[in-house]
């Protein structure tokens, strides 16, 4: 691409508010957002990345250890990898997209190795590249973004997108919450990589993920897909945020008196744990691990043990109380619908990546762990960044200036004297509808109908204006509350329509998978959410073909030099 990156220019503004003009604006700075920024910069675009928190610590990956769907380019291994979760996902995934993600992830992880990520070395001298430690990964990705001369705006939550009269997305605006000033970035294209929505449920690293990007995108007309697959819950010690579930694969789950809970388990037995939790506390002991394993586990996920060591618990011996925390669409697969191989949404100039985008294309209706999600973040981020750069260069930002397109939860507009509920009250009310296992995990038509009624009422409250809150931080809280109400309504709109059990969506009143419903559900709308059926054939977007040809790396994991 011979395009000269548009210099990131500052326009004069009042009160030292930030006003910038660039080619590509990326919202969110986790693995997907940083991948998008790097791909856009590599394609010759000027890039601004705005993160709600701090690019490097923000997002679900930063505080975790995460598996990555890294599979050698071996035909048999790839077929096995694709087949492994197809049934769990309810046969809604797309083989071409899985191929694309496997190729791109192989290439991106190889690049991480080239850039010095310290992958452990296996016996025989080859690197083990199937696991990433979040703090290390994100520290390095931030450094790469800085090196690529993308401009990072930290602590800069987005409030709304900009859109022009042609319907083109032309940037976004938000606040810098530590100074209280506003920021506006005019851009040729915008990538939404703001993560999923976990409804402030306290899962590790997930409280920054409140669906802000989904709301902003829906306000300009974007659609969502797979929102019924939004009820992922993770096991955690009851006192703790540490929602890392893998090691519970060798745990026993017990009642208070120490007797075993039959059928309880971290994978298929999670429903049994949830059902028990509705009645009484549940305890776990990681007693299936042999003593020689203990040190290995510690080296693999040091953060997992913080919750125990610091509370004086030996998790291999002591029974500790557990809970299940909602991870919503962070580990669920629903998100913004993408319509082509560049991860474009239905709105011109708007792209989606990572957990903010639907992961149905590679997971269907289920993700059992982070590995697919991290692979998707690295891959879709790369594609979206490249696509956004191409779009921006073809239609430079310099020609377009849109207007703020947000319509809800923006500013204290409560009429004098009355005042709506506070953001905190709205958040609690949403949580009361999405966190309980007997509403969201064990779904029924009646339960969903009741919850939708409550959520419709909350939406009216949000529309009417919440109680004024102080400053930039208050403005963000109001907007977050609005985003969570919108998210919950899309989830349950789709969940009510899908009258069967498929993937993680479990209808107690329709416990079987219905072959006639092997399709995707697309939702959208704000005041009146709508849902429509999207057939698998005909509406699946064409899959990406990575620029890095499979096998170009010489095949197999590179041996580590010296």
């Amino acid at each position: 691409m011979s395009h000269e990156p548009a210099p990131i220019t500052s326009a004069p503004a009042d009160d030292q508010d930030t006003v910038l003009r660039t080619d590509v604006l990326v919202l969110g700075g986790g693995p997907a957002g940083t991948s998008a920024a790097l791909a856009a910069a590599a394609a010759g675009a000027g890039v601004v990345l705005a993160d709600k928190g701090w690019c490097g610590t923000s997002g679900a990956a930063a505080s975790s250890g995460v598996g990555v769907w890294y599979v050698e380019p071996d035909a048999v291994a790839r077929e096995e990898a694709k087949a492994s979760r197809e049934g769990l996902g309810g046969f809604l995934a797309d083989h071409d997209w899985m191929d694309g993600v496997l190729d791109e992830t192989y290439s991106r992880v190889g690049w991480l190795a080239e850039r010095g990520y310290p992958f452990p070395v296996k016996e025989g001298g080859r690197q083990a590249r199937g696991s990433l430690q979040g703090p290390e990964l994100m520290r390095r990705l931030r450094r790469e973004v800085v090196r690529a001369r993308a401009k990072i705006l930290d602590h800069s939550p987005v409030l709304e997108l900009l859109q022009d009269d042609d319907g083109m997305v032309t940037g976004a605006t938000g606040v810098h919450r530590q100074t209280g000033r506003s920021w506006t970035v005019h851009a040729g294209a915008v990538v939404v990589a703001t993560g999923g929505c976990a409804f402030l449920s306290g899962g590790l690293g997930c409280d920054v993920l409140t669906g802000d990007g989904h709301l902003a995108a829906a306000e300009v007309g974007a659609e969502l897909s797979g929102m019924e697959f939004s009820n992922a819950y993770a096991i955690a010690p009851a006192h703790s945020s540490v929602t890392k579930t893998a090691f519970y694969g060798r745990a026993s789950f017990r009642y208070a008196d120490g007797t075993i809970i039959e059928g309880a388990g971290s994978a298929r037995g999670r429903s049994v744990i949830a059902r028990t939790l509705l009645e009484q506390p549940v305890y776990a002991v990681l007693d299936g691990w042999a003593p020689e394993h203990h040190a290995w586990l510690r080296r693999s996920q040091p953060n997992f043990f913080l919750a125990f060591d610091r509370a004086g618990i030996d998790p291999f011996v002591d029974a500790f109380e557990v809970t299940m925390r909602l991870e919503g669409t962070v580990r669920g697969t629903g998100g913004l619908r993408i319509v082509d191989a560049e991860c474009a949404t239905t709105v011109p100039g708007l792209y989606a990546a990572g957990d903010a985008a639907t992961r149905e294309l590679i997971c269907g209706g289920f993700t059992g762990g982070g590995s697919h999600n991290s692979a998707w973040a690295l891959s879709s981020g790369t594609w979206a960044g490249r696509g956004a750069a191409r779009h921006a260069v073809a239609d430079p930002a310099t020609g377009r200036t849109g207007r703020p397109a947000g319509t809800v939860g923006l500013g204290p507009v409560a009429s004098a004297g009355t005042g709506g509920p506070t953001a905190r009250e709205v958040v609690q009310a949403v949580q009361d509808q999405v966190q309980p296992y007997d509403i969201n995990l064990f779904r029924t038509g009646d339960g969903l109908a009741h919850a939708r009624g409550v959520l419709d009422g909350l939406w009216s409250e949000v529309r009417g204006g919440l109680a004024p809150a102080d400053g930039a931080r208050g403005a963000v809280r109001i907007r977050e509350a609005a985003a969570m109400v919108a998210h919950a309504r899309w989830m349950y709109e789709a969940a009510a329509r899908r009258t069967e059990t498929r993937g993680m969506h479990k209808r107690q009143d329709f416990p079987e998978q219905d072959p006639a419903q092997r399709h995707r559900l697309v939702v959208g709308g704000l005041d009146t959410p709508w849902v429509r059926v999207s057939p698998l054939a005909g509406e699946s977007p064409a899959a990406p073909r990575p620029e890095s040809a499979l096998g170009a790396a010489g095949g197999g994991t590179a041996a580590v030099a010296a």
């Binding site: 701090w54 505080s63 310290p118 290390e136 010690p237 006192h239 945020s241 060798r250 693999s300 953060n303």
Partner: protein
């Protein structure tokens, strides 16, 4: 939740104010940051990981520690080796190699199947 900013260890670098993804800290007197919005802390431990002076402590609980808790007692925490312990596990301390290089997930995860 974040429970302690050690004024004796803190070097006033403001890294915690910058890196906290939940914007929990504010500037405080004498350049020592203050925990201004503890209720927003998501117990992700990353401020501790980034603090170059091992001056922060995040308790494992997602609710605030009661007054008089050992989680706020700097001497007791130091004695227990807890100040800076996560940073050491990550291999982010001075002169350490990143702990990611010791990740044994490729050995552990197959044991689950």
């Amino acid at each position: 939740m974040i429970e302690l900013v050690s004024s004796s260890r803190c070097i006033g670098c403001d890294v915690c104010i910058r890196v906290c993804p939940k914007d929990v800290f504010d500037h405080g007197p004498g350049r020592i940051p203050v925990i201004a919005r503890q209720e927003d802390c998501q117990t992700c431990f990353l401020c501790e990981a980034w603090c170059p002076a091992d001056a922060l402590f995040v308790a494992p609980q997602t609710t605030p520690a009661p007054a008089g808790s050992r989680y706020r007692d700097e001497e007791a925490l130091a004695e227990d080796g807890l100040l800076g312990s996560y940073r050491r596990e990550l291999g982010w301390g001075k002169g350490q190699a990143p702990g990611a290089g010791d990740d044994l997930s490729h050995v552990v995860i197959p044991l689950l199947h």
